[in-house]
């Protein structure tokens, strides 16, 4: 009786073109990556991996949860279609805060003031004012649309 070794499940390789392309990409990334990591390699690696993880596992779930809560709140009031009037200004204001956080929070305010001779304390105020304008504008559009809708709807009195 012959004894055959048990057949091991083979890992599929996938498209050879895709493999070739990815190998090229890794070679270039490796060449640059060695230089990127030449200094404080651990900190840099943490920044690169941390950027992806912080975004995918913290920032995105946070804003997605906030959005879901917002939609639920409007749905509970029976006005799900009104959610955009809050979502749009909130998203735009949050975007500005995310991009300009160091200036708005003043985390490099001293350096900014000393290096550029420009005031570093107006950013928070300006961000708040832009936020107010965004929400105010949204409210205005909402009211105008509501008015137009009620005008065009035949009244029950007639």
């Amino acid at each position: 009786m012959t004894f055959w070794p048990p057949r091991t499940p083979r890992v599929p390789v996938g498209s050879p073109l895709r493999l070739l392309l990815l190998t090229c990409s890794f070679a270039l990334a490796g060449y640059a990556g060695l230089r990127l990591l030449a200094g404080d390699w651990l900190a840099v690696a943490l920044w690169v991996a941390g950027a992806a993880l912080l975004h995918d596992l913290v920032l995105l779930p946070l804003y997605a949860a906030a959005d879901r809560a917002l939609v639920r709140a409007f749905a509970a009031a029976g006005r799900r279609e009104w959610v955009m009037y809050v979502r749009v200004p909130a998203a735009l204001s949050g975007l500005l805060l995310l991009v300009w956080f160091p200036l708005i929070a003043g985390s490099a305010a001293r350096r900014y003031r000393l290096a550029t001779a420009l005031p570093a304390d107006g950013f928070l105020t300006r961000w708040l004012l832009i936020t107010a304008v965004l929400f105010g504008g949204s409210a205005l559009v909402f009211v105008l649309r509501l008015r137009r809708a009620t005008k065009h709807r035949p009244s029950a009195d007639h």
Binding site: P12, S25, G33, D40, V44, R87, A117, F123
Partner: protein, 412 residues
């Protein structure tokens, strides 16, 4: 049936917006946008003339990554103002597109099985470089323009080598995905949902259409563009840059009131060293060394040039009217009729570019000056009094302020 409370289950993802069309539109915008960012970034690296002298080179270990370097021209004189303005302003405006794109594909991060094949496993590792590298590039750039140097090391090597790591992954991703993205955008017919599709198997009722969501992303880009782009112009336009650094009002009034990269106090300039009695310009060349006072310089032929200051941080000024001595005339003083390269040294005590090298083509340009006046008045201390270099199309930091010494000759 997988548990729909877990993100590994397609049913966990409820947004009706996700789908191949939405992702493909965002992906194609990024394909074009990031290509422009990469090219303008490489151009900015070349603009520093890193091959000219070690003092200009923040990344001496670049190896083959500097393969394309070329002699940076001096014309058109607004060249760096344009390329770097586009690099930074477009980068900022693309942030909402990047965030939306990452949001649209996030179910793929949790998809099971983790790898269907060797090629698929490698592609997922490559995606870590793509997402991590991309976010790293955008983050370091956004922090650097706000002078918040919290990243681990010097900005130049991090952003330059990081760009190549990111671009390596970006190239592979673009090659693998662009054909499908083009098909998805062209294809008007809704195909039935397939395995691994980004479309949710149990979508919530929509609160906004896909087009509406794209309008929101585009609106975010326009808002960032509108509150940033003004910082590339003086006067009322700068005031429209409400949140961007170097936006809003000018730092001062009058002829010297335009934007300052580093003030005299920040650079550690001692006023005792810049007074008429103390300050001498030391010019060295083939025939020896000449020491010139400001009065000596004023006796030389003076020329005017209308040139902007354009910073690597993406802000710039409109043209300022500079007046001073031509660099090539100073080269002639020390025995060079055909001006060679020059090493410029500042009184500045610290800072990466207190010494900077200019190439012969920059020295020879008739608009390249050792400026003594700006907009009809003597330079202010913050703009480099008693004398500063101004060269057409050069990055701001190569326009050395508080110049103390010029050494003409071969730098290598």
């Amino acid at each position: 049936m997988s548990d729909q409370r877990l993100p590994t289950s397609p049913g966990f993802w409820r947004s009706p917006l996700r789908g191949p069309w939405f992702t493909s539109v965002l992906g194609l915008v990024l394909l074009a946008g990031i290509t422009v960012l990469f090219v303008t970034g490489l151009v900015s690296y070349a603009a520093y003339n890193p091959g000219l002298s070690p003092v200009n080179d923040q990344t001496p270990g670049k190896g083959l990554l500097g393969f394309y370097l070329f002699t940076w021209p001096t014309r058109p004189y607004w060249l760096y103002r344009l390329t770097q303005g586009v690099h930074v302003t477009l980068g900022i405006a693309l942030i909402p597109v990047l965030l939306a794109k990452l949001w649209s594909v996030v179910p793929r991060l949790f998809a099971l099985p983790p790898a269907r094949s060797l090629a698929h496993a490698l592609e997922r590792i490559s995606l870590l470089l793509l997402v991590g590298g991309g976010l790293f590039e955008f983050t370091t750039g956004v922090l650097n323009v706000q002078l918040d140097y919290v990243f681990p090391g010097s900005f130049y090597p991090l952003h330059f080598y990081g760009a190549w790591v990111f671009f390596a992954a970006f190239l592979a991703h673009a090659a693998l995905k662009t054909p499908a993205a083009l098909r998805n955008v062209r294809g008007l017919r809704e195909r039935p949902r397939a395995e691994g599709d980004l479309r949710s198997p149990r979508p919530d009722p929509p609160t906004v259409s896909r087009r509406g969501a794209l309008w929101l992303v585009g609106g975010g880009s326009l808002l960032l563009l509108g509150t940033t782009a003004g910082r590339d112009f003086d006067g009322p336009l700068r005031r429209t840059a409400l949140l961007a650094p170097h936006g809003g009002a000018e730092p001062g009034g009058g002829p010297g009131g335009f934007q300052i990269n580093k003030t005299a106090a920040y650079a550690g300039i001692d006023p005792a060293e810049t007074g008429d009695e103390a300050w001498r310009l030391v010019v060295t060349g083939r025939t020896g060394t000449v020491r010139l006072s400001r009065a000596d310089l004023l006796r030389m032929p003076l020329y005017s040039a209308a040139l902007p200051i354009a910073c690597v941080e993406g802000w710039s000024t409109s043209d300022q009217w500079w007046r001073g001595v031509r660099l090539r005339d100073l080269a002639a003083l020390v025995g060079y009729d055909d001006a060679p390269d020059v090493l410029v040294e500042s009184l500045q005590r610290h800072g990466a570019f207190r010494r900077a090298a200019l190439r012969a083509n920059q020295v020879r340009d008739p608009l390249s000056l050792l400026a003594l006046y700006v907009n009809g008045e003597e330079l202010t201390p913050d703009h480099g009094h008693p004398a500063r270099v101004i060269v057409p199309a050069a990055p701001g930091v190569l326009n050395t302020k508080w110049v103390a010494r010029l050494t003409f000759g071969e730098l290598r």
